[in-house]
């Protein structure tokens, strides 16, 4: 009997719920695996997919979004070993799973903490409600690859935004494997889109794109590039999350800023009628 030939995996992009190769046909080598090298056209396609997904995802109930995020945690739990085999420490995988659960819980609580009734000088109900800003372009931190990636995706999507995330160029395998988890977690296609490759190629396109509503520059280590991206983002007044400081502790309590920066507040005045 001939010896069995192992099936080698090609790590592809994740756009609109599908796993396409880069439109450019390029790839690069990471840990002996071929990974797609995304072009600016892939970035454009990802924004189109993310925009198309906004209506359904922002329109889903907070309860439903929470359930889906919890489902991601379940699926990630089932693939623990795979992430460990790719080089993620076991405690990082645990922390990533816990982070999904933590954010899942916020889905129907954030509007109560961050919105609510405002006291006003007049016979009115004055109610503020947070709403998703739309399409968020995010840059994942270089390390920790899995926990850092989860920590930029989850706070953006839990409130109803959709995301195009540029994975860490040095550690894209965890990102693509996480995309496989997302694809099997009832998350509608296009809510999360993952691009792998050089940041300098895809991120400026995303930061300048007029159909992107916010940029999360967490993973941009180069201060000059970060400043350039902020200038591009200013063109249509995108919401901006600044790069994380080098000594940021990803295992600590994330706080609410990552979620609240990516929200718009809608305030309604209504006569009390008494």
């Amino acid at each position: 009997m001939s010896e069995r030939v192992a099936v080698r995996k090609t790590y592809k992009l994740f756009i609109g719920g599908k796993f396409p190769r880069s439109e450019s046909g390029r790839s690069y080598l990471v840990q002996d695996s071929n990974v797609s090298l995304a072009s600016r056209k892939d970035a454009r396609d990802a924004v189109v997919a993310a925009r198309a997904a906004v209506k359904g995802w922002a329109g889903a109930t907070a309860y439903n979004r929470g359930q889906i995020l919890y489902r991601v945690a379940e699926m990630l739990e089932g693939r623990r070993d795979q992430f460990v085999a790719l080089g993620a420490p076991a405690d990082e995988v645990d922390a990533a799973i816990d982070r999904w659960v933590w954010y899942a819980g916020w889905s129907d609580k954030l509007p109560q903490v961050y919105g609510g009734a405002n006291p006003v000088a007049g016979p009115y109900f004055n109610l503020s409600a947070p709403e998703p800003t739309g399409v968020v372009a995010a840059v994942a931190p270089e390390a920790p690859a899995l926990l850092g990636l989860v920590s930029v995706i989850a706070p953006a999507i839990v409130t109803g935004n959709t995301v195009v995330v540029a994975a860490s160029p040095a550690a894209p395998l965890a990102a693509v494997t996480l995309a496989e988890v997302l694809a099997t977690s009832d998350l509608p296609g296009g809510v999360v889109n993952v691009l792998t490759g050089r940041l300098a190629e895809t991120v400026p396109t995303l930061a300048a794109h007029m159909d992107v509503n916010a940029v999360d520059l967490t993973g941009v280590a180069d201060a000059e590039l970060a400043a350039e991206l902020e200038v591009k983002a200013a063109e249509n007044l995108k919401r901006v999350l600044r790069p994380a400081p080098a000594d940021h502790d990803w295992y600590a309590d994330p706080g609410l800023t990552r979620m609240t920066t990516l929200l718009e507040t809608k305030t309604v005045w209504h006569p009390k009628g008494v």
Binding site: R44, V47, T205, A208, H209, M210, D211, V212, K232, E235, N236
Partner: protein, 319 residues
Amino acid sequence: MTATATSARSDLSELGRSETALRTFLHGLPGVDQVGAEQRAAQLGTRSIKTTAKAEAIDLAIRMVDLTTLEGADTPGKVRALAAKALRPDPSDPSCPHVGAVCVYPAMVPHVAEVLAGSGVHLASVATAFPSGQAPLEIKLADTRAAVAAGADEIDMVINRGAFLAGRFKEVYDEIVATKEACGDAHLKVILETGELATYDNVRRASWLAMLAGGDFIKTSTGKVPVAATLPVTLVMLEAVRDFRAATGRQVGVKPAGGIKTTKDAIKYLVMVNETVGPDWLDPDWFRFGASSLLNDLLMQRTKLTTGVYAGPDYFTLD
């Protein structure tokens, strides 16, 4: 050679006189190779048009757009807004050309005419009991005359598909001739509604029938049935206008309508026009796109080329 051409010309003008002659001629047209037509259309769709060629193609496509609204919910305000957009599709860029025409229902023609007067943008109106064409001839002709009287200089008529499919070619022919007469100076576009004709052979026959009867343009669809313009159908129609010009010397325009939504689609059509009938047809007088959402995509791509930044739909009008 000259003698044959002349006799062919006179033969064609005689065809409309009898049902038998028309049927013999239309059924004598060579059949369309379905696989070949589809493969040819798909192959032409793979051409890569970039940078300056793309910029020129986009501007040409904008000039070819028949900006259309054919809804029961059309109001004078809505069509006036659309006409204003036709004049200045991108208000922030004066170098952006105006579109080819605005296409509306006859009742809306006077409101559009006010806005377009003297601008060079044509005013098209659908007529002849659009979109079904299922009304008595008198009513169809009155519909046409009313639209022309109100200021339309292009009439989009629908052929009687019921009669065509039943093989009553003379009836269809006579209706087109009568409508052409009712148009007066206005250009007549003949809508074949290819989605209801079932085969490419029928599309070829209907194209010839419309051209023999005097149509100035042949148009694929009303946009009101599920199957609208496709590349292979347009290819068959382009071949028909090419052969018709070779046989008679008269040039007829082509207008695919319905389902063309992106710049990429529009450029595929332009490539096909250039490769099938040549640059003579690459002009708004001879090729038009019946579309509404296409224009915004063309404008977004145009903005991308001029600014280098991908544009978003938030910055263009909803219509």
